[in-house]
Symmetry: C2
Subunit: 454 residues, 2 copies
């Protein structure tokens, strides 16, 4: 039901836009008054139709989940906060579920086992990921694009997910990656100064570098510092979209500050290869693959819609679910709430304490009941985190079965998670300690990067 | 009547904005439901009031003049196109007429005769020009700011007006001037490529330099090239204004392309001295004076409105009337209609031909009638042009009297104009021929410029 209303609004919105353009064209070309009147009447009819469907949809949407790049809220059913409905999200956004066949094709082509985040369904949706595999097969060039909004000194595990996956893809595909640091966005959307944005940016870059990106094929840029390169394509994009389209895509309205409305094009233009002349020269036709959390889809849906008009390639995407907060799927991980997440800078002691104290347990009330009924892996945060970070499928399966049967206790699953997270963070911290200002500057320097595939 | 409606809409709009902010604050601070409901009710009341006044004003505005930075249209009375009503414009925009007393004070303080464009009322309106004279008197620093949208290879006489006046002010005040070339604007508002924008920009800079700006105190910048310096203040401005404010100020709506809506802040930020760190370092408190045509006021009215919230100084302005087209005050000079204007690159022969053939005459139908009734200086384009370019007050007065009395013929006034324009353009062309790429690069280079006054 909601699905059809969503699609209807989307279609009607496009129909209104098409007709509005037709009216403009008629006026520009000095059409007769009758022609213009007829076209305007049709426009009015379409607008009324759109308004009716919008209010119908708004009625349906009451209490349903609301996901934008800045706000993730599950549905509320009978006053109870639900987790995110990921299948519904695919439908709302209009992207596709990632089929097993594509993962198998990925493994065949690359000769590499799919990353645990891929084979376990964390990355679960996409737009034309198959086209990227076609390019890979034909040894044609493409690049990866992802980003990070620097809003705190330290990254948490949720922030690391796209970077871990991107680093893996870069290694497997052997292609360049561009990483956008949206220091401007965080200033505009949060109560954060430009000075803080800049500091957070450099601190976050240290974490990102530590994930193991190839320095020869990785370009990290801050919007504040790279804006002169982004600006020509921002202008091109801004000439192709109107305020109405942004309002519909991102939920803005007339009371929204101009900064928020002007931001989306900044995140859209790295999808076009000529935004990076030092890498791709004047080439406009090198496609990109964007691994990101699914809430970022509105940017790329809109980018794909206008790419043709600019004679650019459509970006391809692969989307992940959200990494849950320690308190469970219904709550939100926040960089400003220390107890909601494990941070890359946490000590082993802090990790142990947070996991033991805050990680939502799928275990039973009493030991007796647990031994009898077993734990619930679906809601157990420790188990869920292990699915992101424990690569050994056999071991994970064993934990699943033993925990579900009640043989394994919550405390034992948590101990395993602590071990895995400590290993991950200790390794990252060791690498991070070696990252110098010069190394940051190198990754961020505007320099030639080879993109041809052999 | 229109005046009061205009002011009422402006006031009500501010009242709605204030109340909307109050509602936001209440929500943020977790106020009680009753408090929020009361505030929202008040907001609704104000919005209804605004809507009523807006429709009243729209009724009044039918057929009245419409002046925006992109569109200059005089009123239509009984189907006849009128010239611009400059006094009404002062009222619509809410700036002040420039009183004779201020011109006299300018002459006293500087010890210089006021420029003909000042003493003859071409520059006729302002916002706090008196504050700039106060600063001058106290030897406190300030700077000049003006701009140009490069939409053609050649500038016409109308384009030259602000530059001639600015060059004079720079010489008299001995202060820095920043000149913004809005290559981005012309791409967004016209069917003009970025490549053309860039070429026009450099060609236009040659003309501007040729006016005689002091290379030690003049910084010319293209938005495309200087955007990284503009961007921090664009973000600051964009966080302070919402879409509604831009719609009201510039007449945008939801069907306006994002590029147009995102442009005004780009023209606003050179009003703030820290936009030019190579000149003013981190100083935020050096005020600027903007000499410009009056249609640019919406930008600076809005800039002044938000300056306080950013802890910046309000910009001061001095506004000129429009330079008339050859065909007269009711028509529009256009860089793309060769016969509408005299261009800086015109040959003496072209100038003579255009003036003789196209300049609207205030003379009479027959020689006999002319000798009897005399010419009308108010509508005679040749005479009007002379008021801009013939510095000799006595000679101009003589022409005025002799033409008005019928003693002097249209052809004789035109001959005088041709002589003056040929002299002006020949001098400019001679200087322009010497402008090298290196000289353009120097004027456009990001370099320290002294602004302290001794």
């Amino acid at each position: 039901m909601a699905a059809s209303a969503t699609q209807a609004v989307r279609d009607l919105d496009a129909a209104v836009e098409t007709q509005a353009q037709a009216v403009r064209k008629l006026k520009e070309n000095g059409a007769s008054k009758d022609e213009i009147t007829a076209a305007v009447d049709e426009l009015k009819k379409r607008k009324a139709d759109l308004a009716a469907h919008k209010s119908e949809k708004a009625e349906e949407d009451k209490g349903s989940q609301k996901i934008t790049p800045w706000d993730v809220q599950g549905a509320v059913v009978d006053g109870v906060q639900q987790g995110v409905d990921y299948n519904k999200l695919i439908d709302t956004f209009g992207c596709s579920p990632l089929p097993q066949s594509l993962i198998e094709r990925f493994e065949q082509l690359t000769g590499r086992k799919a990353h645990m985040m891929l084979r376990r369904g964390m990355f679960y949706a996409h737009r034309e990921f198959d086209k990227i595999l076609d390019l890979y097969e034909k040894k044609k060039p493409f690049y990866l694009y992802t980003g990070r909004g620097p809003s705190s000194d330290a990254l948490h595990m949720g922030h690391m997910v796209p970077f871990i996956f991107c680093q893996y893809l870069q290694e497997v595909f052997d292609v360049p990656i561009v990483i956008q640091m949206t220091d401007d966005e965080k200033f505009l959307f949060k109560d954060q100064s430009l000075v803080d944005s800049k500091r957070f940016m450099r601190e976050n870059v240290k974490d990102i570098i530590s994930v193991g990106f190839n320095p020869d094929k990785t370009f990290i840029f801050s919007n504040m510092e790279y804006i002169q390169y982004l600006y020509p394509n921002i202008l091109e994009v801004n000439k192709k979209i109107n305020i109405n389209q942004l309002n519909n895509t991102f939920g803005f309205d007339d009371t929204t500050i101009v900064g928020k409305v002007a931001f989306p094009p900044v995140q859209m233009v790295p999808c076009f290869s000529n935004t990076f002349p030092h890498i791709f020269g004047t080439k406009k036709d090198i496609p990109c693959l964007i691994p990101a959390a699914i809430d970022q889809d509105p940017y790329f849906r809109l980018t794909r819609n206008i790419a043709g008009g600019l004679k650019y390639k459509k970006c391809c995407t692969i989307y992940s679910k959200f990494f849950p907060a320690l308190q469970g799927a219904g709550s939100k991980m926040s960089a400003s709430v220390d107890t909601s997440a494990i941070f890359t800078c946490d000590t082993p002691k802090q990790i142990a304490k947070k996991v033991k104290k805050y990680a939502f347990s799928g275990g039973r009330e009493t030991l007796e009941e647990h031994r009898e009924k077993g734990g619930d892996c679906e809601v157990d945060v420790a188990y869920q985190y292990l699915t992101f970070f424990l690569d050994d499928d056999v071991e994970l399966r064993t934990i699943h079965d033993r925990y579900s049967s009640g043989e394994m206790l919550t405390s034992e699953v948590k101990d395993k998670l602590i071990e895995v997270l400590v290993e991950f963070t200790q390794k990252l911290q060791a690498r991070r300690a070696t990252v110098t200002d010069a190394e940051i500057d190198l990754f961020c320097s505007v320099r030639p990067i080879s993109y041809e595939r052999k």
